[in-house]
C-alpha cells in the first residue's frame, strides 16, 4: 500500500457514517450520525472538506437530488461509497486490527478492568 491509500481518522468516520445512513446520505445527517454514535461533534466545515476530499480520491460518489421546489431551487448533494472506498475502509480496519493484536488494547478477555 502506498501512503495515498491511507485513510485518515475523520475520513474513516465519514465513510462509516455514510454506510450507516445509507440511501440519500448528505452532510447534515452524516454529521449527526458521527455525533450520535461516534460521540464527537465535528465542525460543519470538516465534514464538507472531508467529503470533498474523499470524492476526489474516488472513494465516494455524489449526485444532486431533490431541489427545493422553486425556480432555480437548490439541490442537495448526496453521497454513496464506491467500491474503492469500501476497500480502503476495510484495509484501514484491517491495519488497525493487525496492529492492535497482542497489545493491551486488544479486545476479548484481555480488556478486563
Amino acid at each position: 500500500l502506498g501512503d495515498r491509500q491511507l485513510l485518515g481518522e475523520v475520513e474513516q468516520l465519514v465513510l462509516l457514517a455514510i454506510l450507516r445512513v445509507g440511501e440519500g446520505a448528505y452532510a447534515v445527517p452524516i454529521r449527526e450520525e458521527i455525533a450520535r454514535h461516534g460521540g464527537v461533534d465535528l465542525s460543519r466545515g470538516t465534514i464538507y472538506v472531508t467529503l470533498d476530499r474523499l470524492e476526489r480520491k474516488g472513494y465516494i460518489r455524489s449526485w444532486q437530488s431533490d431541489p427545493t421546489p422553486e425556480p432555480g431551487g437548490k439541490a442537495r448533494r448526496c453521497f454513496a461509497i464506491e467500491r474503492d472506498g469500501m476497500a480502503a475502509l476495510r484495509a484501514a480496519q484491517r491495519m488497525v486490527d493487525g496492529l492492535r493484536r497482542g497489545t493491551p488494547l486488544a479486545p476479548k478477555g484481555s480488556q478486563k478492568p
Binding site: 464538507y48 470533498d52 439541490a75 442537495r76 448533494r77
Partner: protein, 889 residues
C-alpha cells in the same frame, strides 16, 4: 437589492460544486440571516483552502515555506498582488483610469446614497426595523393613498392577528412656547402604542399610557425630542413635569425620546409628540367625531409590526379579511360609492412618506438610469486606456504565451488588474460621493416633501459602491483582455512595431463611439429637462408673484371663536394696509397654489352641472394678486356683508365664464348652485384664469365668493419692499395683534412656485451635471484614442510628409478619422435618445422628445468637444519628423 448582492457575494466564497448544497444545508438550520452568511463563508473558505492545499503537491508543502505560502494564497491572490504592484509601478496609466472610474462610481453612488437616505434605509432608532410595515389606505385600481380614520385603524389593529402591534400618527406643526416667543416645531399626534411599536423607550420620564388614547384634559401630555430637550431645557431632568404651551394650550412634558429616534419619517425630524386623546383639545371643531365616525375624520398614517416569522403576504391576507369582516370599514355604505373600494395595503418598512414614496421611487429609477449611462461611459473610457496599455504590452503577453501561459491565465490576470483599479476607483468614488452628498442639502426631491439635509452614508451605500466597482471592473477589463490576449506570437516577438491589429482597432473605435453615443443621449436629455424647466417658469400663471408675500393663519387653533377670529383678520388686514411700503393686503381662504382645495357646483338653467374650484376672498384680493378683472368689478362692501344670503355675489374665472355662458357675456347674470340647496349666485365680475400648482395643465375653472367673516385661511400681501422687509413687517403686525397666534408658511409667493417645480429643477440640474461630465469624459476618450492612433501611424505620417503632403492634409486625415467615429456615435445617440422618449415624455413640457434645436445643440457641442480633443494629436501628426520616424526601428 443590496441584500441580494451581498447574498450572492457570500455564496461565491463556496466552490461551485458545493455552492447550492452548502447554502441549502445551512439555511435549513440557520435561516437566511447574518449568522447563516457567516457559516457559509466559513465553510466556503475551508473548502477553498483545503482544495488549494491538496492541489499543491506534498513536495511543495515540504519545500520552502515561502513557496508553501504562495500555494495557500492561491492563483487569484497572486494575480491580485501582481495587479496591485503593476498599478503602483505605472501611475501615468493607472491614475487616469482610477480617476475616470471614480467619477462614474462616485456620481452613481452619490445618487444612490441620496435615495438610500430618503427611501431605503431603515427607520433610525427603531428596533428590528425589518418587521415594520406601513399600512396604506388605497383604492383598488389607483395608485393613491388616503388617511386612516381612527376607527378603521383600531379595527385593523384589533382584528389582524399577524400584527404584534400597530400605531397611527399624523404630522402636525405645533407652536411651542415655554413662556417666551413661540417657536414652530414639527410634531406628531400619535396613538399611545406609537413608541412601543418602534421599540423606543424614553430616555427620561415615561411613555404615553393607554388612558391617553381617550380624549380629555388628562391627555394633555407631551413627549419631546432629546434635541428639543437640550435646546430648551439644557438637558435638565427637571423638565419632566414642566408645562409647555402648544398652540396656546398647556401640555405637561412627560418624557424625552432618545436622540437616535426622529419620528416616523426618514426626512422630517419630529420634536414633539402628543397623544391622540389630546387632539380634541387642539381642534375641538374638527375632532369632535374623531373616535366615533369612520367617514368624517381621517386621522393619519398607520404602521404595524409583524409577529416574528409572519410574511407580509400573510399579514396582507389577514388585513383584507379583517377589512371585509367590518361592514362599514372605510365608511363603506351603499351611499358612499367613491370610497367603497378602499382597502388596506401593506408595504415593507417605514418609508419617507406614505404618499410621496411611490413617486419618489420613480424619480430614483430615472436618475439611476441617467447616472448608470454615465458610469457606462466611464467604463468605455477606462477600457480604452486599458486597451492602449494592452497594446503596449503585446511583447510581454507574447512572451507569457511562449513560456506556456494559457489564454485563460492571461485574461484572468488582466481582469484581476481591472478589478484592482476599479476597487481603488470605488474607494475614491465613495469619497467623492461623500463630498457630493453635501450638495444635496436643501434640495427638494419632489413637491410634497421637505428638503433633504444631512444625507449620510451607511453600509448599504458602501456595499453599493463595492458592487458597482466590481461590476465596473469586470465590464471595463473584459473586452480589452479578450482582444489583447489574442496574440500572433511570431509577429509580436519579431517586429517591434507597435501596429494595431484589426480586432483591437475595432474595439477601440467602438468604445469611442459608445462614449459619443452616451454623451449625445445625456446632453439631449439634459437639454430637454432644462428647456422644460425654462418653459414652465415662463408660463404666465395669470397673476404677478413678484412682490407678493403670503402667510396662513388659523386663530381657532388658539381657542378663538369664529367671531373673535373675524375681528383678528380685520385687525391684521387693517394694520397691514396701514404699513408703509405695503400696497395691498387681502384674505383668501386658499389660493390655486395651496394644498387646500374646495369646489362648488353651478347649475346653469337647462344645462349640466359645472364644477369649479372655489375660494372665499375679501375685497382687494384681485388687486393684491394682480389678477386682471376682464369684465365687471370687485365686490362692494354690501356684497361682502350679504354673502351668506340666498343670493351671493361671485366673481368667476374666464374659463368658468366660457363654460357657463358659451355665447359670451355673463356679468349681471344669476346662476343657481347645486348646494346649499336654493342658493344662487350673481356674477359681478370675470377674472383672468390662474394656473395652480400643476402649472403645466390648463387652469381650472374658478369661482371667488366674498367672505364676510374669515376665520382661518391665508393672507396675501403686496409690497414695494424687498421680501425680507415685508416678512418682518408682517411679523410685527401679527405680534401686535396677538403674540400667541403665529403666522405660518410666511414666505414669498415665489417659494410656493419654486416648490411646485422641485422635481423639474432636480432633473434639470442633475441631468445638466451628468451631461457636462459625459462630454468631458468623451473628450478625454477621443483624445486618448487619437493620441494612440497618431503614435501608431507616425511612420505613415512621416512618409506622407516626406512625399510632400501638406500639414493641412495630414491634419484633415486625423480629423476625418475622429469625426467619422464621432458621427456614428451621434447618429446612434440620437436614435438612443429617441428610444428613451417614452421614459421621459411625461416629464417634458413645451418640447418634443427630439426637439430639433436641442438635438442640433447636442450634436454641435459634441462636435466641438471632438474637434478640441483631436487638435493636439492632429498637430502632433503634422509635426512628425520624417527622418526620425523612419529611423525609429
Amino acid at each position: 437589492v443590496t441584500a441580494r448582492w451581498l447574498h450572492r457575494l457570500v455564496r461565491l466564497t463556496v466552490p461551485a460544486s458545493w455552492r447550492d448544497p452548502v447554502t441549502r444545508d445551512i439555511e435549513e438550520e440557520h435561516g437566511t440571516g447574518a449568522a447563516a452568511a457567516m457559516h457559509i463563508v466559513r465553510v466556503g473558505v475551508r473548502l477553498r483552502v483545503a482544495r488549494t492545499v491538496s492541489a499543491a503537491s506534498v513536495r511543495s508543502l515540504r519545500s520552502a515555506s515561502r513557496q508553501g505560502a504562495r500555494f495557500l494564497m492561491g492563483d487569484i491572490t497572486r494575480d491580485l498582488l501582481i495587479a496591485v504592484r503593476g498599478a503602483f509601478r505605472r501611475p501615468a496609466y493607472s491614475i487616469p483610469v482610477i480617476a475616470t472610474l471614480a467619477i462614474g462610481i462616485g456620481a452613481t453612488t452619490a445618487i444612490f446614497s441620496m435615495f438610500n437616505w430618503v427611501l431605503f434605509r431603515p427607520l433610525p432608532g427603531a428596533d428590528r426595523p425589518d418587521e415594520l410595515v406601513t399600512i396604506r389606505f388605497q383604492p383598488e385600481a389607483r395608485n393613491a393613498s388616503y388617511w386612516f380614520s381612527y376607527r378603521d385603524f383600531a379595527d385593523l389593529r384589533d382584528r389582524v392577528p399577524a400584527f404584534a402591534d400597530a400605531a397611527a400618527s399624523t404630522a402636525r406643526r405645533l407652536d411651542a412656547s415655554l413662556g417666551g416667543d413661540p417657536e414652530r416645531l414639527d410634531g406628531e399626534i400619535v396613538t399611545t402604542s406609537y413608541f412601543d411599536l418602534f421599540g423606543v423607550r424614553p430616555v427620561a420620564g415615561r411613555d404615553f399610557t393607554p388612558a391617553e388614547e381617550q380624549s380629555g384634559p388628562h391627555a394633555a401630555s407631551a413627549i419631546i425630542s432629546r434635541r428639543f430637550w437640550r435646546r430648551a431645557f439644557n438637558g435638565d431632568p427637571q423638565a419632566i413635569g414642566r408645562q409647555v404651551s402648544l398652540d396656546g394650550r398647556p401640555f405637561t412634558i412627560v418624557g424625552v425620546a432618545p436622540a437616535s429616534f426622529q419620528g416616523r419619517s426618514l426626512i422630517t425630524v419630529t420634536d414633539v409628540w402628543i397623544p391622540i386623546g389630546a387632539m380634541p383639545l387642539l381642534q375641538p371643531q374638527i375632532a369632535k367625531d374623531l373616535f366615533t365616525s369612520r367617514r368624517a375624520s381621517s386621522f393619519g398614517d398607520a404602521f404595524a409590526r409583524l409577529r416574528p416569522g409572519i410574511t407580509i403576504e400573510q399579514a396582507q391576507a389577514e388585513a383584507n379579511a379583517a377589512a371585509a369582516s367590518v361592514p362599514d370599514f372605510a365608511g363603506r355604505s351603499p351611499a358612499s360609492v367613491t370610497r367603497s373600494r378602499l382597502g388596506p395595503v401593506l408595504g415593507a418598512g417605514i418609508g419617507v412618506d406614505v404618499f410621496a414614496g411611490p413617486r419618489l421611487l420613480n424619480v430614483f429609477r430615472l436618475l439611476m438610469g441617467a447616472v448608470g449611462l454615465l458610469l457606462l461611459l466611464a467604463c468605455a473610457n477606462a477600457a480604452n486606456l486599458l486597451l492602449a496599455r494592452v497594446t503596449g504590452r503585446r511583447r510581454e503577453i507574447a512572451v507569457a504565451h511562449a513560456i506556456g501561459a494559457s489564454r485563460f491565465r492571461i485574461v484572468r490576470q488582466q481582469i484581476a488588474e481591472g478589478l484592482t483599479l476599479s476597487v481603488a476607483a470605488g474607494v475614491a468614488g465613495l469619497a467623492l460621493a461623500f463630498g457630493l452628498t453635501s450638495l444635496f442639502d436643501g434640495m427638494r426631491l419632489t413637491v410634497a416633501l421637505p428638503a433633504v439635509s444631512g444625507v449620510g452614508l451607511d453600509w448599504r451605500v458602501i456595499a453599493f459602491a463595492f458592487a458597482a466597482s466590481m461590476v465596473t471592473g469586470v465590464i471595463f477589463a473584459a473586452g480589452p483582455a479578450l482582444v489583447g490576449s489574442r496574440v500572433d506570437l511570431q509577429s509580436a516577438l519579431k517586429d517591434g512595431l507597435t501596429t494595431t491589429r484589426g480586432g483591437r482597432r475595432v474595439l477601440r473605435a467602438s468604445l469611442v463611439t459608445v462614449q459619443v453615443t452616451v454623451s449625445v443621449i445625456l446632453v439631449v436629455v439634459a437639454g430637454l429637462f432644462v428647456r422644460t424647466l425654462q418653459n414652465i417658469r415662463a408660463i404666465d400663471i395669470g397673476m404677478q408673484p413678484d412682490g407678493l408675500v403670503s402667510f396662513s393663519v388659523d386663530p381657532r387653533r388658539y381657542g378663538y371663536t369664529d367671531e373673535r377670529a373675524r375681528v383678528y383678520f380685520r385687525d391684521v388686514l387693517d394694520r397691514l394696509r396701514a404699513t408703509p411700503g405695503i400696497t395691498h393686503a387681502a384674505f383668501s381662504w386658499t389660493t390655486p397654489f395651496s394644498m387646500n382645495r374646495s369646489d362648488t357646483a353651478f347649475l346653469p338653467e337647462g344645462g349640466q352641472e359645472i364644477v369649479a374650484q372655489t375660494t372665499t376672498v375679501t375685497r382687494g384680493f384681485f388687486d393684491t394678486m394682480a389678477i386682471p378683472l376682464i369684465a365687471g368689478r370687485d365686490f362692494t362692501d354690501a356684497e361682502i356683508r350679504d354673502a351668506n344670503d340666498t343670493l351671493s355675489a361671485v366673481v368667476i374665472s374666464e374659463r368658468l365664464a366660457a363654460q357657463l355662458f358659451p355665447s359670451g357675456g355673463g356679468v349681471g347674470a344669476t346662476v343657481a348652485l347645486a348646494y346649499p340647496k336654493g342658493k344662487r349666485a350673481r356674477i359681478v365680475g370675470i377674472a383672468g384664469d390662474v394656473r395652480g400648482r400643476r402649472m403645466t395643465i390648463a387652469p381650472d375653472p374658478y369661482a371667488y365668493f366674498p367672505d364676510p367673516a374669515p376665520n382661518w385661511g391665508t393672507v396675501q400681501v403686496r409690497s414695494q419692499m424687498p421680501a425680507p422687509a415685508t416678512i418682518a413687517a408682517i411679523r410685527d403686525v401679527a405680534r401686535a395683534v396677538d403674540p400667541v397666534v403665529l403666522p405660518g408658511d410666511l414666505e414669498r409667493f415665489d417659494a410656493a412656485i419654486d416648490r411646485a417645480l422641485a422635481e423639474q429643477r432636480l432633473f434639470a440640474r442633475l441631468s445638466a451635471l451628468f451631461a457636462v461630465i459625459a462630454a468631458v469624459l468623451a473628450g478625454i476618450g477621443i483624445y486618448g484614442m487619437m493620441s494612440g492612433a497618431v503614435a501608431e501611424r507616425r511612420r505613415e505620417f512621416g512618409i506622407r510628409l516626406a512625399l510632400g503632403a501638406s500639414a493641412r492634409s495630414v491634419m484633415s486625415l486625423v480629423l476625418r478619422h475622429a469625426l467619422l467615429l464621432a458621427g456614428i456615435g451621434m447618429i446612434v445617440g440620437i436614435a438612443g435618445a429617441a428610444a428613451l422618449r417614452q421614459l421621459i415624455e411625461a416629464r417634458l413640457y413645451g418640447v418634443r422628445p427630439l426637439e430639433p434645436a436641442i438635438v442640433v445643440l447636442a450634436v454641435g457641442a459634441l462636435l466641438i468637444v471632438s474637434l478640441l480633443a483631436c487638435l493636439v494629436p492632429g498637430l502632433r501628426a503634422t509635426r512628425v519628423d520624417p527622418v526620425r520616424s523612419l529611423r525609429v526601428d
